[in-house]
């Protein structure tokens, strides 16, 4: 591995770690918006009682969204400004980026919906909730496939 590539890998290591941690907690708390953790005893596991508190999981999900937005915009602009000429995105990266964008966009609409005096149509809210869940599950599934198949974001140039 070249010195430049090693430097890049080292520089992105904490960002990657934070990204993975954020995704983990967002997925955990996102599924926690459905009443399943108490029903299926997961919140009975010592130390995981908070999973049954919808307000706690909602707040953690929101904090995760703040971190994720910061990371995504940092990575996107770093790519546009600095790495575009040196790094090419792989096909799986485009799929992941598109799914992540769908998750973020639908999540942003849900956050907007939760403000007082905001009225969206009933059908739209149902579609939005289902779309956010489906996009998040597809994003996680594609990431799992990429992990198993060792597909990276960057394609060989």
């Amino acid at each position: 591995m070249s010195v430049e590539k090693t430097r890049t890998a080292v520089r992105w290591r904490p960002v990657r770690l934070l990204y993975l941690l954020t995704l983990f907690f967002m997925a955990l708390t996102g599924f926690g918006q459905m009443p399943i953790y108490n029903r299926y005893y997961m919140s009975d596991i010592p130390g995981l009682g908070w999973l049954a508190d919808f307000y706690v999981t909602r707040n953690i999900h929101y904090i995760g969204a703040v971190i994720l937005l910061g990371l995504v915009f940092y990575a996107a602009f770093d790519f546009i400004l600095s790495s575009r000429r040196q790094v090419k995105l792989s096909a799986s990266a485009w799929v992941r980026a598109a799914l992540l964008a769908a998750v973020i966009f639908s999540g942003a609409l849900i956050v907007f919906k939760n403000f007082p005096y905001v009225h969206l149509s009933d059908g739209f809210i149902i579609a939005l909730d289902l779309f956010h869940l489906a996009a998040a599950m597809a994003f996680l599934a594609v990431n799992c496939v990429c992990l198993i198949a060792k597909k990276k974001w960057a394609a060989a140039v």
């Binding site: 918006q33 459905m34 009443p35 399943i36 029903r39 299926y40 005893y41 919808f54 307000y55 909602r58 707040n59 929101y62 904090i63 969204a65 703040v66 971190i67 994720l68 937005l69 910061g70 990371l71 995504v72 915009f73 940092y74 990575a75 996107a76 602009f77 770093d78 400004l81 600095s82 942003a108 956050v111 919906k113 939760n114 403000f115 007082p116 005096y117 009225h119 009933d122 809210i125 149902i126 939005l128 909730d129 289902l130």
Partner: protein, 328 residues
């Protein structure tokens, strides 16, 4: 032991205030046509006037009878076993608490008024929050808020997970097992029926009529109208009688405003509180934390872009310095 003072004596002390309030009263259908700046309707419940006759309770049950659940039995076997069925279909007559068949009940409290033990009665039902957690946090969108600020649950979509009840500061919605969409999905593994609560007679309001409980009340305990007018009236009455207001700021504001001659903390201590019998405690805005965090969500992309730009400029300066040294 102090004897209970009569309802008449209790009301007499507030007569002047009632007369004053009546002068500024907004008649029913006219009030429904009017809107405040947000278009939200609120109900004023003047506790002094309530005689506990339960005419409102009966009117609610009659008007909403067609919406009450008719569950299919036997209920599906639930997994895991901790998931309990909630069956009120054999106890439809219960009217001293909230149930899927009783969306409004009369809560009773014995408190001291002018040194005398006095029975206070007050209608209790969904508070219809301005920013209702039951609606905003429902994972399927089956709870909804109408343009006029009132909230309801769609029985055709609700899966009965009871999250709405968990996030409601007053635990208002009540579940009936054996009915609803979950029966067509995974009845043993997900969902558990349908949640029910006061929908403020939304069809009647849409027709320009008043909710049934208001129409039926012989004492005009409740008044519905634009929220800002209702709050102004509640404060006018409270000022006149040295009374107290509940519901204006609770959970960030509700569309049900109680006015009482007795502090609500006293009433709260005196009422029976358990499942289906909501409290009268102060309530913090349950949605406030998340909405404050949302402001940080707006700043996060800016911070990310700024960090990437700073790194880019630093790298470019370093490269230029490096090139300069090499050229020099």
């Amino acid at each position: 032991m102090n004897s209970l003072i009569s309802r008449r004596m209790f009301l007499k002390s507030g007569m002047a205030a009632v007369a004053g309030a009546a002068a500024t009263a907004v008649p029913g259908t006219q009030a429904l046509a009017a809107n405040d700046d947000r278009g939200y309707l609120a109900t004023l419940i003047d506790i002094r006037k309530c005689i506990g006759c339960e005419a409102c309770v009966e009117a609610c049950r009659e008007t909403n009878a067609a919406k009450f659940p008719e569950p299919a039995k036997p209920f599906p076997k639930m997994y895991p076993s901790r998931v309990k069925v909630s069956d009120w279909s054999e106890k439809r007559d219960v009217n001293d608490r909230l149930t899927p068949y009783n969306w409004l009940f009369i809560q009773r409290a014995i408190v001291k008024v002018n040194g005398e033990d006095t029975e206070i009665t007050l209608p209790r039902r969904c508070m219809h929050c301005v920013n209702p957690p039951c609606v905003k946090l429902c994972p399927w969108g089956s709870a909804m808020q109408l343009e006029n600020g009132l909230s309801r649950i769609d029985p055709d979509i609700c899966l009965g997970g009871s999250k709405c009840k968990n996030v409601c500061p007053w635990d208002i919605p009540q579940r009936q097992t054996g009915i609803g969409l979950y029966l067509k999905l995974l009845p043993s593994l997900a969902g558990n029926g349908v949640m029910y609560k006061c929908d403020r007679c939304y069809e009647r309001i849409a027709r320009g009529e008043q909710p049934a409980c208001i129409d039926a009340c012989p004492e005009d305990v409740q008044t519905i109208g634009p929220r800002q007018d209702i709050i102004a009236r509640a404060h006018a009455i409270a000022k006149e009688i040295g009374g107290y207001v509940y519901g204006e700021i609770e959970n960030g504001g509700t569309n049900t405003i109680y006015v009482s001659p007795v502090p609500f903390e006293d009433l709260n201590r005196a009422i029976a509180q358990d499942d289906g019998r909501p409290h009268l405690s102060p309530v913090q805005d349950a949605m406030a934390d998340a909405n404050n965090l949302a402001a940080a969500m707006v700043m996060a992309p800016v911070a990310g872009i700024a960090a990437a730009t700073v790194r880019f400029l630093k790298a470019r300066n370093k490269a230029e310095q490096h090139d300069g040294r090499r050229d020099g």
